[in-house]
Symmetry: C2
């Protein structure tokens, strides 16, 4: 079985031999960019439209909030006054949309290497990309590895909303890159990075956290359900020089944000850092 | 796409058009019982062997602990002295195995309607069924609907480890059945029932909880990840006449059980009842 659409079904089978299948409808967009194959297709299910990159699931209209609420609100609510936010990757715009729900935010820089992802999502996934034209957003179609090199004390929050540690995303999983991200953060800054599936990608996640722990004095993990990622379970790394996870909850924003969310609430936030034994042992 | 094995892959696609795919190896067992098709097949993945009933995923050697630890230990640790336990369904033996880790347990009754499930699992899934011959276990190949009718104040814990609310499991999702289960419990007894996927089975889960709430004064929900169920996310109903969830944690057993588990620990237990907004609104 090859990943991608065949005979009316999209498949994504992990190297361990299991994965997801989705009944596919019309392909709305399918092009090879300078970096990867970008595809958007319809489904006849509650998932709505689906974005894949190199035939790997990125997001769907029907379950995207599972990912975007978790990557954004956990660090944002844990920060006292997040004004300046950098999103690396995330060309679909879902993370930017969630970040902008916080009224403290003055500026969001989106640094996405592949302009075709942004264009495809603006056209075909408007419920996800809807805030990319917000005047607080600066879009840079640029390699984040280069962009981050010269940044010092600039961001309150950096969110690494990347693809997997292979292909165009590979350089975003290195000690040098993490060090540059750390330097780009203000003193009480927080970085959150998507960190793969604890069940499916055990060796990748171990390697990633070993690097992160070299760079950040505080490096923790939280997890949540993503229905359309193989294994249905995803992890994010919460890293900082000075801010412990759950050390602060901005009650006012927490309450306001909860009203806009399908997943996020305070209890759910507090519960995210309780990990299963197998993951605690791995990390 | 039909559920089951075709062209070397097992598929389970939910009515909403998405689901799971697993690379299948040899079929070790495949027979029609009086109630359902019982099948065990090999995979070449870390999932090991897989049990399906009527071409629906029941459990795999590689991820079964995600389900069995959650259905058993949450109520068992929340009970002060669970001696007498009834497992309804659960013919694979995984729930019985977890229950027997608690040294308070004097007797476990397994009431499974389909003897073929027990036989297939004893032969082909020994790591799951390994405690079915334990002298504390009484196995009844019998319809639980009949069995439970005359029971009064008999069990500390009843675990409904059933199939979905269709086919042989259908009668286990009725007000009459839940009332009989309640009557079979001692005063401080707890019932936990598997309650489907919050993301995939929204109408089934709503219907089930509406019935449960008519019967039990205390009816709560907890969730966890199951990698091989479509959507990767599962819910269990925690019901009782007198015992609130999280009102008690047996610290001694909690510590001992944690050492034997791949998932379960105290923090993870406490976090299970924090639900996403969409599920709180549904229930």
């Amino acid at each position: 079985m090859i990943n991608g659409i065949q005979n009316g079904y999209y498949h994504e089978i992990t190297p361990s031999g299991f994965g997801i299948a989705i009944k596919a409808g019309d392909v709305l967009f399918s092009k090879q960019s300078e970096f990867q194959k970008v595809e958007v297709f319809e489904t006849e299910s509650s998932l709505g439209r689906v974005l894949t990159l190199d035939d790997l699931m990125m997001t769907t209209e029907g379950d995207e909030y599972h990912y975007h609420e978790m990557i954004a609100h956990i660090p944002m609510i844990n920060h006292k006054n997040p004004k300046s936010v950098l999103v690396i990757g995330g060309g679909d715009g879902g993370t930017v949309r969630e970040v902008l729900k916080h009224d403290t935010v003055e500026k969001v820089v989106l640094c996405e290497i592949d302009g075709m992802v942004i264009e495809a999502c603006k056209k075909f996934l408007p419920t996800i990309s809807c805030e990319l034209d917000n005047p607080k957003v600066e879009i840079l179609v640029q390699d984040a590895i280069e962009y981050i090199k010269n940044k010092k004390d600039e961001f309150d929050i950096v969110l690494i909303d990347s693809t997997d540690p292979m292909g165009p995303g590979e350089g975003l999983f290195t000690e040098e890159f993490y060090t540059n991200v750390k330097n780009s953060l203000k003193k009480d800054g927080i970085m959150v990075a998507q960190s793969e599936s604890p069940f499916v990608n055990k060796s990748e996640i171990k390697k990633m956290y070993d690097l992160l722990k070299k760079v950040f004095p505080i490096c923790s993990t939280y997890t949540s359900n993503i229905p359309t990622y193989p294994g249905g379970y995803w992890a994010w790394a919460f890293c900082s020089e000075n801010v412990e996870p759950l050390s602060y909850i901005d009650e006012r924003r927490c309450e306001n944000i909860t009203k806009t969310c399908k997943i996020y609430n305070k209890d759910y936030h507090l519960a995210r850092f309780a990990l299963p034994n197998y993951l605690k042992e791995l990390l």
